[in-house]
Structures are given as C-alpha cells and as structure tokens.
Symmetry: D2
Subunit: 476 residues, 4 copies
Amino acid sequence: MFDKLHEECGLFGIYSRERKNLAADCYYALYALQHRGQESCGIAVNDRGVIHCYKDVGLVNEVFTKEKLAGLGEGRIAVGHVRYGTAGVNPQQNAQPMVVHHMKGTTALAHNGVITNAQQLRDEMEAQGAIFHTTSDAEVISQIIAAERLHCNSVEEAAVRAMDRLDGAYSLVIMSPSKLIAVRDPRGFRPLCIGEMENGCVVFASESCALDSVGATLVRDVEPGEVVVMDKNGMRSLRDKCGTCPKSHCIFEYIYFARPDSTIDGSSVHMARQRAGAFLALEHPVQADVVIGVPDSGLDAAMGYARQSGIPYGLGFIKNKYIGRTFIQPTQSDRENLVRIKLNPVSATVKGKRVVLIDDSIVRGTTCARIIKLLRDAGATEVHMRSSAPEFRFPCYFGTDIPSPENLIANKHTTEEIAKIIGVDSLGFLSCENVIKLCENTQGFCTACFDGKYPCQPPKDCGTNKHETLLPEEEE
Amino acid sequence: MFDKLHEECGLFGIYSRERKNLAADCYYALYALQHRGQESCGIAVNDRGVIHCYKDVGLVNEVFTKEKLAGLGEGRIAVGHVRYGTAGVNPQQNAQPMVVHHMKGTTALAHNGVITNAQQLRDEMEAQGAIFHTTSDAEVISQIIAAERLHCNSVEEAAVRAMDRLDGAYSLVIMSPSKLIAVRDPRGFRPLCIGEMENGCVVFASESCALDSVGATLVRDVEPGEVVVMDKNGMRSLRDKCGTCPKSHCIFEYIYFARPDSTIDGSSVHMARQRAGAFLALEHPVQADVVIGVPDSGLDAAMGYARQSGIPYGLGFIKNKYIGRTFIQPTQSDRENLVRIKLNPVSATVKGKRVVLIDDSIVRGTTCARIIKLLRDAGATEVHMRSSAPEFRFPCYFGTDIPSPENLIANKHTTEEIAKIIGVDSLGFLSCENVIKLCENTQGFCTACFDGKYPCQPPKDCGTNKHETLLPEEEE
Amino acid sequence: MFDKLHEECGLFGIYSRERKNLAADCYYALYALQHRGQESCGIAVNDRGVIHCYKDVGLVNEVFTKEKLAGLGEGRIAVGHVRYGTAGVNPQQNAQPMVVHHMKGTTALAHNGVITNAQQLRDEMEAQGAIFHTTSDAEVISQIIAAERLHCNSVEEAAVRAMDRLDGAYSLVIMSPSKLIAVRDPRGFRPLCIGEMENGCVVFASESCALDSVGATLVRDVEPGEVVVMDKNGMRSLRDKCGTCPKSHCIFEYIYFARPDSTIDGSSVHMARQRAGAFLALEHPVQADVVIGVPDSGLDAAMGYARQSGIPYGLGFIKNKYIGRTFIQPTQSDRENLVRIKLNPVSATVKGKRVVLIDDSIVRGTTCARIIKLLRDAGATEVHMRSSAPEFRFPCYFGTDIPSPENLIANKHTTEEIAKIIGVDSLGFLSCENVIKLCENTQGFCTACFDGKYPCQPPKDCGTNKHETLLPEEEE
Amino acid sequence: MFDKLHEECGLFGIYSRERKNLAADCYYALYALQHRGQESCGIAVNDRGVIHCYKDVGLVNEVFTKEKLAGLGEGRIAVGHVRYGTAGVNPQQNAQPMVVHHMKGTTALAHNGVITNAQQLRDEMEAQGAIFHTTSDAEVISQIIAAERLHCNSVEEAAVRAMDRLDGAYSLVIMSPSKLIAVRDPRGFRPLCIGEMENGCVVFASESCALDSVGATLVRDVEPGEVVVMDKNGMRSLRDKCGTCPKSHCIFEYIYFARPDSTIDGSSVHMARQRAGAFLALEHPVQADVVIGVPDSGLDAAMGYARQSGIPYGLGFIKNKYIGRTFIQPTQSDRENLVRIKLNPVSATVKGKRVVLIDDSIVRGTTCARIIKLLRDAGATEVHMRSSAPEFRFPCYFGTDIPSPENLIANKHTTEEIAKIIGVDSLGFLSCENVIKLCENTQGFCTACFDGKYPCQPPKDCGTNKHETLLPEEEE
C-alpha cells in the first residue's frame, strides 16, 4: 500500500537506575517508530520529579535538534510519542506526551488508540466543572486517572480503576514522579512490548524495532488488560483486568502498520506478510513470469507469493527515497505524474512479462489504477493483482483512519468490477478465513474492517466531534 | 533604561458585528504591544463557537506568517496575547491565549498580571482531582471561572464570582463562544482600555497604542473591578467589584513599560515621563551644557529636564535598530563592547561638554556604568546622572520582574556611593513624593518597589514554584 | 525620511599582526554599517593565502550564525560588505565580497559606488573572451585589476592603473593573499576611513561608527584618489591620483545615508544635520509651538531647528522597533494604515499645537502626505513642514537610488503646489546655497541630484542593463 | 553499498517550443536525479535571452520552494543540476548551473565529471589575465568555450573546439540565449541521454529515470564525442569528435551510482546488477538457506544470486526511510549503534539460517563488519559475503570519490584476511573478467579502479588543489 492508511501513534518509555541522557534514547526509539505517526512528536524527561517536555508538529528529526535534546536535561525516566492525527484543529496542542500537574505531582502520558466513550466521559467531567485543553483522548485518560487517584493509594491502582471507565483501544505509557507504567486495554487492540537493557534498565515500546534501535532485548508483550509498573523496587504487574475480555489484536498491524522487523505478540510481522503472500498464491494462483510488490509494504507478501508459486520474484519499482515534507506537489493538471515521481517501474523487470502485482490492500482504488497503468506503459503484457488484505468494507473505531464506507471501492463493486476499474487482468483478495492465520503464534484478532464484527460497542456519535464542527453559539 | 526590566504581557480582543479576517487586526495590535512581551505570542479566532488558536515562542512577526494567519480563518471574535516570561520550564506550553473546553463550550483567555494566591488555589483544586497542563496563572483563572460557571448563569457572572477568589494583579480578555469580556482586578494594577471601530466593532487592549494600530478610537479604560461584556446585544458592565479596594495603578507602566504614545487611565505616558524630567530638574538642578537621554525610555524625561532647566536637549546616543533575536553576543572577553555595539555615543554632542544624562531607573548599575564610561571616552567633561524613577528597593509581586533585593544597587549603597560606583559627577533620583504626581489625570498608584508599601498581601511562598524546583520523589 | 532612498553599500576591512577570529570583528562592524545595505552581506577571511568567504541574501544577524562565523576560521586579514541592491536578477550572485582566483592567488574585493563606464568596460573585455558571473560593478573592477596586474609588480600598482580606466564613484577594500588595500576614487564620492586598534591592527570602514563598534580609533579618511596599502611592512600610500579631480563628496551621506554618530571627511554627520535644521529656521521661520522630526533621520535637524528658533523640541512619533523582514504587509485596502503601524504620532505632543515637522527630504510625497494626515488626526492645528534637503530634481548616477525624474514631486510642482498636495500650512526646503555649508570641516560636494551639475559624465545607456532586460535572442 | 561512495553530479536540460513553467520540470527531474548529488542544486531558466538562476546548498526539496520556483518565471529553455562535492571551501559558490555573461549573451552550464587538465588550463588562462570565481571545473569549461567562441560562428562549434583542449570526463548541458546543447566527452565516461516529450519538447538528462519523472520518452544516449544542438530549427549533431577515442564508460554507474530503473547506453542498470549476482553465484557458489542484499544497491544483485543459485531470496534488513539531513548522529560511544538505527536486520529471515549476503562493494570494510555483526546477533548461523564489484584498488580521477589507496582494505589484505577482518565464513568478489560482461548491450568500460588501467593520463598534481591548501603567501 502506498500512502493510504494511517496509524494513530507510537509509544516509548524508559526507566533507568541512574541519571542519564535518556532523551537521546527516546529520540532514536521514536525515530524507529516514525512510521506510526508523522504529524507530531514529543519527549518528556523526568529528573527527580521535575518533568521537562518538548513536543511540536513535525518529524522526529525536524522537531528535535541537539540543543532541544540537551534542553531536556538528564533524568531517570522518560517517555516519548509520535502521532498521526487527522488534519484537525490545533495539531500543535494535541501533540503528546501529555504532561499534567495534579495533587500527587506531575505525570506524562503517551497514548495509542481510540477511547470510544471519550465524549461521554468528557461530558460527565465537564458537568462537574472540569476543563479540557485539547480534543485528544490522552487528556480524557489523564483526567480519569487523576480523578481515580483521589480514591486509591497509587497511580497504578488508579490506572486499574480507570480501565473500568475507559472503552475502546488504548495502549499507554505513563510516567509519574517516581514510576514508569505501561497499560494495555483488556482486548489488546494496539501493541505494547517490554524490553530490557543492561544495568536493569527497562523500556516499553509500541514495537520491538524500537527496542533494537536502543540496543534493548525484547522480553515479552504487555498482556491485554495488564498494568506493568517499574520503579526503584523493580518491575511488577497488576493483572486485575487480564482475561476479562476476548483478545482483539488489530490484524492490520501485521498487514500494513508495523515495521517488518518487529515481532508483535509473539509473531514476526515480516513472516505474517510473507505468509499472506503464500496464502494468496494458494487461493488465487495464476500463470505468470514475475511477481513484484508495491513498495514498501507489499514487498514481503510478494516474496511469499513468489516462493509458494515458484514464479520468480522481481524488482518492480524504484521508490524515490528523498521525498520530504517540503516536497512541492505537482499542480492539479500534473497530479497524474505524482505517482510516477514517487514510484517508477523498472521496465527491465516487467517489459514483455506477465506480472503478478502484490499490494497490501485496495482502499479507494485510485492510486492502484495509476500504478497499474505505469506497469502497462512499461511494457507488462498482463497484470494480475493480489491484495494481501481482504476487502475493506467497514469503518474502524479503534485507531485506523479508514475512509468513510462510501469511499471504499469494495463497498460499491464486485471483485470483477474492481478489476475492470483498476485495469487488471485478474484480481484476488486474501480471504477472511486465512487473514486470521497469518500469525503463527498469535490468536484473537479484530477483523471488523473486513467483516463488521466489532469486538465492542462503536461510539454513538462517531464521526462528529463537538469541538471540531461549527456549532450554534452558546445560549446563556 | 536599557534592557533591564520586563513587563509580563500585552492583551488584545476584538468583537465584530460580521465575520471578518480578525486575525490580521490581532496581528497588528500585538505588533504594537510587542514591547510588553517578546517571549511568545498567540491569536485565537472564534468562528461561530469553534476556536482556532495558534501560539508559539517568538516575536509576532516571527511566529505568524501569512499562511498561519490565514489558517486561523474568519470569525466574529478574536483575542491575542504577547508574553514575557522568565526563562522557565516549557515556555511553549505557557504561551497564551489559553484555550479550554468546558461544559458551556470553548473559551480563550488572555491574562496580564500575577495571581498572588495562585499556588493556594491550585492546591485546593488539585485536592479535588483537577489537573493542570501549565504552570501559568492563566490556567488557574480558567479553572476558577469554569468552576464558578457551574453556579451561575453566564460567564460574566462567573468572572465576577471569580474575583472573590483571585488575589493580586490581573487584567483579562476572555472570549466565550458568543461573547468578548474584559476584566480588571479591583486595584487596577495593570492597564486595560476600551476602543471602538466603525460598524460597532469593539476592542479591548492593554494600551491605547494598539487601538491606534488598528484604527480604533479610545473610549475609556476598564475600571478597576469592572467586568465589561460585549455580545450581540451590545456592551454592558458588571460593576459589583468596582470601588471595593483603593486603586493601585502600577507607576512603572508610566516610567518604563508602556509606549509613550499610549494614554493609560487618562494620562499620557509621554507627558508623565516629560514631567518626571521636569521634576528632576527642579529637585536636582545642575550647571551643564547639554541634556541627553538613554534610548529609548530615557528620551522623554530628558526633553522634560531640558525644557525645565533651559539646558539644550541633545542627541546623545545612536541605538542600533537592527538588533534581532539571532544576534550573536560577544564572547565574555568582549562583553564590555556589547553596550557600545547596541548604543554608540554621538561625540559631536558630548565632546568637551558637561552632560546631564537621564535614564528611567538604576537597577544593578552595571549597564549604567558602561554607558557612562562610553560618554567619558567620547569626551564628556562632566556627567551628571538623573534617574526618572526613585531608588528600586523592594521586590514586585504584581508583574514586574525586578531582580532580588540583594542585587538592587540602591539596597546596598547610598546615593553618593552609587555615584562613585557608576562613575558620575553627581546623581539624583526622582523623589517618592513626586513620582506619584507624574500623571495629571490619574491617582492611586502602587509604588511598593520604591517604598515597600504593598497594596495587598504578597504570596507566602513567593519565589518558589513547586513545579519548577527539584522535588523529593513522590512517596506512595 | 522614512524608507525612501537607499545607499548602495558598506565596507569593512581589517589587517591584524596575528591570526585571530577576525570574522567576529567583521560581524560587529557590518552590523554597525547595516543601515548602508540590507539586501545581502558577506565576510571573507584570509588565512595564509586561503580565503574562506560566506555571503548570502539577508541582514547580518540573519546571514551569520555562530557556526557560519566559526566556519570562516582564523586569519590575519578579513573584509566584509553589506549591500543594498535594486530588486534585480540574482541578488544571491551579486553579494560581496567578490572573491576571484587569478595568476597571483586569490583576492576578495568589496565595493561601494557605481562605475559609470562599466558597460563599456564589460564590452571591451568580453570582446577579448572574458566571461562575467554577475552583473555587478565589483566584478568589472576585479577583472580590470587582474588585467592590469599582468603589467605591473603589485596589486596596489594595478589598482592605481585601474583608476585610469574606471569612471564614476568607487570606494574599495581589496584583500590580496598578503595585503589589505583601500582605494577611493579621485572625486571621493563615497566615504572611506582608516582606523587603528591596539597591537598595530589597521581597519578600513565606510563610516567611523564601524570603528567604534570594534573599539578602533579613527585616524583619518582615505583621500580622494588615494590607494592605502597595509601589509607586514606597515601602512603606506600611493597618491598618484590624488588631486587629479575636484572633490565631489556626496552631500546626501550627511543628510540621510550615514549614521549620525559617524564622522566623515572630518565633519560630524549629526552636526551637519543639526546645522541643516538651524539653516532651515533661518531660511523659513514660522510661529509655532513645537518642533518634531520624522524618525530617525529627521530628528537631528529638528533639534537644530528648535535650538535656532527657540521653539521647544518635542517627541512627535513613536517608531515601532520590532519591524522585521518577515513582517506581513497590510493588504492593499489597509495600506493606508501601514505608516501608522510603523509610526504612531504622540498626541500629547501635538494635540492643539502648531507643529513644525522636519524631514530630511521629500521625494514622491506620498508617505509625507500620510504622515501629515496622522498629525492632523492627532489634533495638530497647524503643520509647517521643512525639508533639510533641497528639492530632488535629477537622477543620481553615483550610488543613490533616486526614483526616475517623472516620479519626483519637485519636478512637477512648485513648492506651493507641493504644500497643497501633502496638506501642510507651509513648506520650506533648504536652499542649494546652504546645503553645501552643512559641514564645518569639509568642502567639495556633489549636489547633482539638486542642481543637475554632474561632476563627471553620466553613463550613456544609463537606466538600461543588457543583462537585466529582455533581449532579442542571439542570432548566430 | 551503504553510504560509501559518491558520484559527482546529475544534469538535466529542457527545450520547449513555447514559454512554459519549465522550472517545475527541472524540479521533478532533479528530484529523480537526487541520488547523484545531495550537496547542492540549482535551476536556470532562459526567458528570451534573460537567464534567472537559483542555486543553493541542500536537497532539491529543501532548496526550492513554490516561491523560489515561481521566481524563476516562465521560459523556453532551462537547465538543472544536482551536485555532490567533497566538503571543500565554499560549496555555496561551486553550486551549478554556472551562469556566465560573455560577448554573445548569457549562458548557463551544467557539468558532470572531472577535467584532468583543469589546473593546467587555469594556469594558462590566468597568465593571460583571466579571473576565476570558483574552484570548479565547470568554470574552466565555461572560460574555454567563451574563448573559443571568439574564433568560430556558434557556441556549438566552440564546444567542439573546446573538446580539443579538455581532458578527462565531462558530460555537459549548455544553455545559450537561444539553444540547448548536450556534450559528452569522446570516451563517454559519464552518462547523458536524450528524451522527447509531446509538442516537440526535447530533454537531456544524466539518467533515463529523470525522463520518466517528467513524462518524456528515451530516444537514445548522446554518443561519446557528440555535440547535440536543439534550437528553433530542431535537433542536430556535430560528430567531429565521435570515435576519436575508445569508449570508457564508467562501470561503477551500473554497479552503484545509477538508479536501477535507468537505462544507460542501452543497458538496464537493474539487469546489470542482477547479472552481477548471477555471475557471483557461478563464480562463488555456496550451500546456504537464504540470500539477502544490503539495501538499496545490493538488492538487485541478491535477486540475481538467488535466481541463479536456487537459494530463496529474503528480506534481510529494514532501512529507516526517515533519515534526513538534520538527523542527530549518535555520540562517539554510541556510534556502533548508528548502523542499526539506519539498518535493522529482520531476524525472522536470518535466525538459524546460513545467509548469503550481497553488497555492491567493500571499500574500507568498517561498515561491512558492523552489518555482519548485526546478522550474527540476529541469529544467522553462517554469513557468506559476496561483492558484486571486484576489489577496489586504485584511485579514480574521473568523478568517483574513492578513498585514498591506503584506506582501501583490498590494497592491504588478501581475500582470506578480509573475510576474517569483517567476520564472514566465506567471501567472494566478482572477477574483473565478468564485471565487463554485466551489460548486455554495452561495451567499452573504464575499470581503472579495479585494474589500474587508466584510459587517459591522470592529472599530474592530483590530490592537491592550489586554492584549497594553505599556501605560502604571495611575494610581490
């Protein structure tokens, strides 16, 4: 897939036994998680209870300079965040970590997911006089935990109590004045893992590739419903909410979001994608000369299709690696060329060949059609497309920014019609039966975007946000 | 005075009968108020209840580009803020206006002053579960107003009730979904005025020079204790708190902070400074050949001294007008030269002359001594210094960033000693008797920095801030 | 005068006996000369024959960062330049110093002025195969000197020979591998002075204010026609061209261009302006209550008028000091307000008063008219304008960017008509008789812009430039 | 290969029948050629003889904004350049295209290659009074052509004459007031091709991938020694120098420099690399479980090795695609981690496997050793390295920035020793016999870096540059 869907966030937290330049570790870890969010990023460092935080709109290597990192000082705990957000109001304000001051000191919180009852919780709290600075779920969670904190003895207990009130998907890393805490919702929608470094240093991260980047070793994943606490007494778990719901791991993490070099909930992302390709070869075989993938997320499945089918794997496209945020988009009349500027076919691979083209999904179909035209122009005699995800048909309420149903091509057309629209000789989607078999070591997935079976209640007023739409003026 | 003291903030608000590009008005008004705060600035525009806000660290013309202004959209109400802040934690987070969402919608608040019981109010609210995102007083005020809002029928009534809880100095401009509100504390420490534009447009600003910049006419000042409301029904006042305290206008607004072309509480700032010069000539006459002022704030008083004494006024210094934030400071060994780089004496004016040098105050005395040395090097045969403010002896708790008492030269030395230290032939300060006579049309001043008579209780733990000092770690 | 005319350039050169961080000295000196050119700037440092140069479009404190200065390294000779240029083609390319490599090594050249026969010289050299990289006169001069260098024994002799070929105005600072050389054209149009620092360090600068900024002492001015050489053998002069022409110092340096704290050719700029005010008071007396000047260049003359007439001097305007290059200009409909945004009248000074307003010149009259309207709006009962320059009537070919004759208001209207157009009660210009008496210690001025008496031949094709106009295509 | 060698430049030129926004075409073409030079870039547009040029240090999408492109205006001819340069003096000054004014108007020139007798040509011209502004060969070429232009009737004839004087490697695109000209040296070291667009538009580019990016079709390559002229009369050739030397195409263009989707001199770069892998499999077979390549340039050869050997191709590494110029490098102590931050192994691919690792070359061996250690840490049981280039042993004088011989690992060690140093179980290099067989349709290569057989005389004083080293000072 090529620039179509967006994950909400990437998290990182680190607890060290001694004061160190933890901001640098956060920087490299966030850099490894950059694919999970390119809108804004932030790092908060805790130096004996005082939290220094810097966050802004931009990529990790744009937002943070040497001076900015140095300005965060040394500390023993730190937390970082990268965020993707819809082009809403005030992206600057919604950047995380969210740092709040409360009765027990200052905490920083980083969140990945969507709280489906967030608006209801806001309404309740506002009715009691609470104010909110942002439109982000992270602030709702921070308020809930601060409120629960009044009724219990520790922030980790407050987190457990908060889980009774929060619905939806949430992986959290929380930094209190003296602790680093990881929380994963009872369904385990979004990933969160635990790593170790030398000297008893503990880290939490959305994906294991972030552990690799700081030289940490993957220990295990945070369990759905688990609260993991790290402080001067070591690491311990509160498992009150574990096993209270069936697991609902997001299958799309494996298909598209996560980095192939990550291992999530025990399964390699790369292997899951390669297996998707193999299943596709079994479900939708075809006579062809070469198998190619759409960079970058279609490549792994293409290798799997090639191995299973025996058709040689080839280099289909060169993706320009210098695209930056300041790249000038072609004018409307030239927009056709934009795909070619980013993604040029290798005619030596496809000219005069019957090509199997693997992508990870088909959403609207527009980009797809342009890519296929490029292949035809480069001399491919046949193009057989295979999608390593089933047809997208339903909205996601748990963190994937899928276009509204009326824009999903699979909602309006049969496979044959889609094949015609995008201009391929044949088209095959991975079946819903096989998509849940992609991971050798993992079970329990949310596949609602394919089959509409939501593991929990979608929000009532989903799609609207009272702070982002024009309202009638206040009547007093 | 030359780069020594700093005022906290400048405010601007505008209410229009029709949707317009109000962000541009804010931009020019904030630009006129830039002298009141150079650390950060922000503008919030209200378009039918939806507030778009942009704020960042930097000068008005650095923070706002055409694109940023356009991104704020059109609206009918807007509020802007420039801020000076001590080099504290997270200047980015403390930028204003402060935009908060609450039960009744979204409001934006801009504040100038210091709440002396802010820490106590924070503690109370935190004990009830409230969280704070910043260390700024503006957030305390926002929380208090939101809390009071639950017990009354309008935001303006909530503002009146909040005045019972807030101590210290505060001028506020508040934008609710449908109203623009100005609030001034009952003592009237900080200025706030009301202006009118064509088509029934109403503006509030810290100083009248901001009205001039947008073509508005000064109507009057907001009275101490007054809450002024502007909405579709027009402008009205809540005067419950008016007259509940003696007035305590900050005299230093006239001496240094405000722009000479502003009129504050009925008196011209320029005239007040010119009168200071005249009083100085009467109190501390001297035989001399030329009167010069230290740019920019000493010039008005120098003219006053010249007129009263009959000694000619002269151009003493050229101030380099290209100094920007990115200017490279000389290294330590060259620091002596920094004053000269910014401020070069005009030897044609002072060579062979007995010079009267007027500055608006003497704080530490260091810069003063360097300026006087420049004059001697340029050939002045005598230098007689006159300060248009009395001796600084006491800390200010109401918004002026005066160095701690042990760094104030007047606390450690007699006038004769100071004269010797800074190298002048004679030295005279304006008397406390006359400083309160500077304004023809205004009475009731706070002169605590000169005489230690504080109009209200200073904060108990002044000088410490629990969120900005290193704390023992939380014990749970 | 308020943003109307522009000088071409400012020069600085320094020769030290030991290797030092000379880039910093250049930085502060150029900063002091910033008023002479805001388009681009550059510094070249010579470290044992290797020249490191950095130059770019922008102000000194924008172009140079600490890293950029450090990147220039240490050296024993350095030269700097600030440039104003018409908004022409490739300002980036025309930035100076111009560094060229030739048979005898590398030289850097900084130029202030206009070579009136530049096009003819270019044509001659191009006909022999020479190529030019820029459209600047500095390159023509560099080529001429390199060509002459082939026929003599030193670069200073080449400079003397070059003076036979170059017509017009030129002050130069040239850095060869081992020497620093100052050159001033035989008529002495543009200023150039010599200063000394401790340890035998020698500096050249366009104005003495740059000497002050680096702690140097003014020794004398470079004489018209003189070539001053500084190398390891000390300073010496080649005076072959001295006295070959009458002096033609640009009178407008005193009236507007130069900084008041500079002394040029023996006369104080501030005193010259103050004397202009005094002459105006004598030539055009009036009954009035206050004398004010238009900041910044009208202030000195206003003081002179006030002293001579006995009418009190007042603070007429506050000029906003935060205007930066990124300032957003008002839209066309608001353009009327731009003057007010930059320049606000002090109504306390002018309300109900008969005002004498001094400016240094009237060019088009447009800005003037707006300023006068501001004064009337602020309550001035009468406005009597006095211009400290005579009427502008003729183009300048020697470095002043005067609008074309048809845009000069004095070319189309009588004084009475101009008074009516700009809206004043009376108007008076300094006479041509007195303008040449402004400087006590200097004689020999070019006043061609007032009287059309050009000291040398204007260029034949003045106003057109073959490289900057659209040409018929080359026919081959 | 992973960030080790650097090519000098990429060229693009376009000639249109009508005035259009050619700067945008240059932008997208240069963007496609960005891999050929990341130091600086520039675009020059010719509008009826007037050339507007903008160039600066930085990537294409950093240097050019919408405003900058618009500022170049419309035109009928344009030329662009990306440049890699050693970290020398004044990268800003050496940016291209080089725009020079001469007797026949203005021309812009873009150059890729190295003139081996440049210093000698400079000396000759300087001895006749010529001056140089830069240290670049492009200026030498410009001077030579301008000089020859005096003796012939057209710029293209001057180019032909210049070829008699220029030695070494040069591909040029030259824009005269009315023509666009492509020149390739008689040995054809560096690539240059011709493309066509609709409406008779002609383009020249270093690689065909740039043609794809603007929708042009590859017509043919410029022949070694050919001068191709495009003007209003259409395209024509001057072939005086064709066939005067044996061809010496740089083999390293195919192995590393060029983009795999380019076709150069008739052969696909991707296919050449894939064939390198196949040759390696034939020359150095091994028993193994998976073949992986070092991204990006080792991937094609890895596919070739896999196909030929029958060992499966696998995804060995994930390369972080967000690395930007502002990325903060790890401190010295963490430098070991830098490779991992940029390049993380996919343990699912290599764990427990015997791995064949393909890279395009081994230069110093340091990065190589780190990559191999990453694979071992990720669980590879054996690592067999294959290099798709022969051993680097000799310096390149024609545009490849190879480290000095004493830093080339193959100059100091046998293959067995290198295997031990970098930590592999076996190591094999492509043989010199086979490296010249990589391209199916191309013959005549320069392989001097492998075998020391230089196709023409290396420069006498190679490695030193009189303008970039510290010289004794000029004695006059």
